[in-house]
Point group: C2
């Protein structure tokens, strides 16, 4: 498979990328590193990304920022960071990517445990991650041409077993899973 991975050298990506490279052609992308530079919060940058990759079989996104802060210090602007950088960014990745993905391809997005099991200080993450999860549940019902979409919802990176994380990505990319929230490291 020809697989595009965004955030290829981030905390999650640096674990997943080498595992994918063992059996697939992997195009790496990131804000400041990888084969192609991309700012996923920009639709123009996403369009440029796919113009450079051409048609792919799988799109994996392990990137997306949101703000951690006490509730009473959160502001409209801080919530918007996650909405723009992680939620709408990944939605626009799918909308744009649908024109550049093969039949029966797959999208694998990223959310996080705080969407379902929040802790104090996580409301900015919770909003973003909960929304990404719900997007994937909904979008999976309407993906055209046999294309699938799932989301990896990881716990804190320090609570995750490497192989569990890799297995989660393999499940999304290489099985019939569709519309699944793949929880990793929850316990």
């Amino acid at each position: 498979m020809k697989i595009l991975i965004i955030g290829a050298y981030g905390n999650i990506g640096k674990i997943v990328t080498p595992a994918l490279q063992q059996n697939h052609e992997v195009i790496t992308a990131g804000r400041n590193s990888g084969d192609v530079s991309v700012d996923i919060s920009s639709i123009a940058s996403l369009e440029n990304l796919f113009t450079q990759t051409g048609i792919v079989d799988a799109v994996v996104c392990t990137a997306g920022d949101s703000v951690t802060s006490d509730l009473l210090s959160m502001t409209d602007e801080k919530y918007r960071t996650g909405v723009q950088q992680k939620l709408l960014a990944q939605i626009n990745l799918v909308i744009t990517g649908l024109r550049y993905i093969n039949d029966n391809g797959s999208f694998t997005l990223i959310s996080g445990k705080m969407g379902e099991n929040p802790a104090k200080g996580s409301s900015g993450k919770a909003v973003t991650n909960g929304a990404v999860n719900s997007f994937v549940l909904a979008a999976a019902l309407e993906m055209p041409r046999g294309i699938r979409i799932n989301v990896i919802s990881p716990s804190k990176i320090t609570d995750i077993a490497t192989q569990d994380l890799i297995n989660g990505y393999f499940k999304s990319i290489a099985t019939s899973a569709n519309g699944e929230i793949i929880r990793v490291g929850y316990n």
Copy 2:
């Protein structure tokens, strides 16, 4: 109790408002109707709202727009409608309202079944409703001064028994419920 209800004459509000008025002082608000006019997507309008209401015991929001459309017709702009009009609007209602609500008061927000159990064409609603649910789960952990926050997640209005809806709002406003997604009319 002194209760502020926003969207007092909408599909949900017109059922809930009279029920609350039986035993409480109710201030109604809406975009085009009610005691006070408010556009909840505007922080300035929210500030003006509370300047007019003064301190209240409960804030209920039954308003918030999002877009219904086939996935392949959805755009960044259509997703932003729900984000702005229903998600960030209600978050800003809480942020602003915290300065105008009594100790042990309550916020009752609104999401919808499509956040958890989406149908085709609902991705715009799903994103918004899922995010509001997660916000409430997270914010409930950090509300100050005994203040509580819950969210009513209604199914389609035609699938809801009136008394179930009213009971949901009573549960949020008048019991110790906190951080609950109160599902009404699922099935």
